[in-house]
Symmetry: C2
Subunit: 438 residues, 2 copies
Amino acid sequence: MTTSPDATRPAVLTDPVGTVVPSSVPTHWYNLAADLPEPCPPALHPGTREPLTPDDLAPLFPMALIAQEVSTERWVEIPQTVREMYALWRPSPLVRALRLERALGTPAKIYYKYEGVSPAGSHKPNTAVAQAYYNAVEGITRLTTETGAGQWGASLSMACALLGLDCEVWQVRASYDAKPYRRMQMETYGATCHASPSDLTEAGRAMLAADPTTTGSLGMAISEAVESAAKDPAAHYALGSVLNHVLLHQSVIGVEALAQLDEIGETADVVFGCAGGGSNLGGLSFPFLGRNLREGTTTRVVACEPAACPSMTRGEYRYDFGDVAGLTPLLKMHTLGKDFVPPAIHAGGLRYHGMAPMVSHAYELGLMEAIAVEQDAAFAAGVEFARAEGLIPAPESTHAVAGALAHARAATTDETIVIGLSGNGVLDLPAYQDYVAG
Amino acid sequence: MTTSPDATRPAVLTDPVGTVVPSSVPTHWYNLAADLPEPCPPALHPGTREPLTPDDLAPLFPMALIAQEVSTERWVEIPQTVREMYALWRPSPLVRALRLERALGTPAKIYYKYEGVSPAGSHKPNTAVAQAYYNAVEGITRLTTETGAGQWGASLSMACALLGLDCEVWQVRASYDAKPYRRMQMETYGATCHASPSDLTEAGRAMLAADPTTTGSLGMAISEAVESAAKDPAAHYALGSVLNHVLLHQSVIGVEALAQLDEIGETADVVFGCAGGGSNLGGLSFPFLGRNLREGTTTRVVACEPAACPSMTRGEYRYDFGDVAGLTPLLKMHTLGKDFVPPAIHAGGLRYHGMAPMVSHAYELGLMEAIAVEQDAAFAAGVEFARAEGLIPAPESTHAVAGALAHARAATTDETIVIGLSGNGVLDLPAYQDYVAG
């Protein structure tokens, strides 16, 4: 114990001390479409198989988001109201994993970009607040959506509370019954959460008539949320991943990470992100890919997907529907087929048959790599990370951790590794318990 | 939508962008004992009623912590290893609550200092990592402690994982059975968690013999953890609040908050903190009180305690035991009496019959104020905060929010209010559910 050189003040350095200054939140989202060597294939109308028009989407989305969906602008200004909401948890920390490096005995430098500081505990609010904002500006007063385990539903509920919108969420009944915390979170924010299928929609009533004991599915919940929004001129529908505008909003993750690395004079050699629908992966990695394309940097991007749902490493690259019923537009993507039913792995956020078209296109162009990670290897990495760094990663995030740890163990130089930690695992502790208990 | 002025780079400003730079974590803790106009009354030996000596405490605590317990040094250097662990979540954000200000229609400026970004979701890791560090340095290989709902047990489990110590936690059986998430968190970190009373200690066996169906108590769990540590030369015991060294470590909250306010040219007019055992309140407010005493600033500090357990506003200021059995040293504090049984309010962290001696002394000297908050008013404030700011505060923290909101509603000037948000309520959602459902 020594006293500070200045006996009346502690030696708190004047370098960054947190998120107190809202102006440190990025001012623009980054759009990879501006830098791609060839454009992303368009979404097609499910009936005509012609490229979608803005009018096709107008019943469900506000014009600002429809414009973002097809924009090729490189930098899209973030509205000041959205930046103020981002400042509640952004910029998210970029942390040097010193203890993990020592535990691994690696010469590599490992950083992680941590989205679990958001009020909902994941990256989902980055797009939720933006979508709620654009809907509110265009006079919409109610948003509908579907949710599985509930991360997206809770994030949209929070966003609607901040913007004064009503929010109605159809949650797959199996999760609604088995995992009540996320529903409680939605209701604390003032949202309404229905178990799906419900008797509130034609689609739901038809499914209940066919099987009164069904525990529901994400595809069914989508149908209910879309039907409810389509029937109400004051309501719109919101989607938490896959679409271009969602990835655009999530680019705030990678824009910040690049700025934070620049600030300390670091360049990322390789970035690991978990891959489900693609919004966290795209949001984290596209700003790095854009710099590669514009400035000739050579940052590698590795998508880490679950071996149980390997759309990138095992799927086909073709047009497919986003939902089981075949009601959505056709998207050119890596897909296991819309009827593929992934096993009930704990990383619920990665259980999607397809991959975001923009991520699929970047992968097809060779701009990023992909690996598949077994669930046990993912949890082993998650526990190793938690015991070294304190944070318990979300089951989704453990896939990126597993990819990064294997890479770091083999490293022979002081290369710089960045892990995208998309969320924390506080509400997924039973999954860890299953793993720790063997 | 507009493009950035520089067409190749987004306008990310170069001001603070997060916790990437470990040197932004404070270098020193602050010790109010150095600035008090009269010294805090000493702890007394329960047998002799003479002031405690270091030897009395040596079986349970490392010498470094015993020295901190009686130190009058103003600035105590934070060991570099502890600073590296702090950098995992520190500096914690200080956020301007713009939306809340607008919702209240107040001219006051409201900031909150948010400790819920820590891996355990509360301020408790600030002292857990420091205590684990000093024990590890002195060759201790196992720490024991008690926990109620589990916030402290999870925090110490995390700290022990980071330092390579074994950790053994006795958790009150009622919580062990009813709230399994915190136990899962402890086990994910590699700790061992026993339901208390257990058959592993003499104290536990005696209690089980007297009542085989008992659901336990914090006092009983303390006895088991202390007994286990006292019998093992390689083990020590750790406490999560009340003691001077705990408040010293928690001063990192207030040191950061002061530096963050200085950074943006703000001075706090009034600080609201929730008061249970006193570690969050003391950690947040003592650096402000110290500046008042040294520099003549006039920041008010308001302790917000639960009306159901009002040690400051309704208790006596006298020597009392820290535990029910009367085994601990006698502490001069505001107390409701060691046999006082608080009702089962949701803010489990505030259910303690006494108040930290240092906080009690500061209150007695008139350096801070105190108010009592009813549980319904606290949750109402918590919900209002969540819907305006996104974050769902821990039930403990809602008491500080309630105090601040009442103050802000009555404000007539642009005074600056700081709220100590000691943690998030993610694992307390059932308590919110009870409130929201009426």
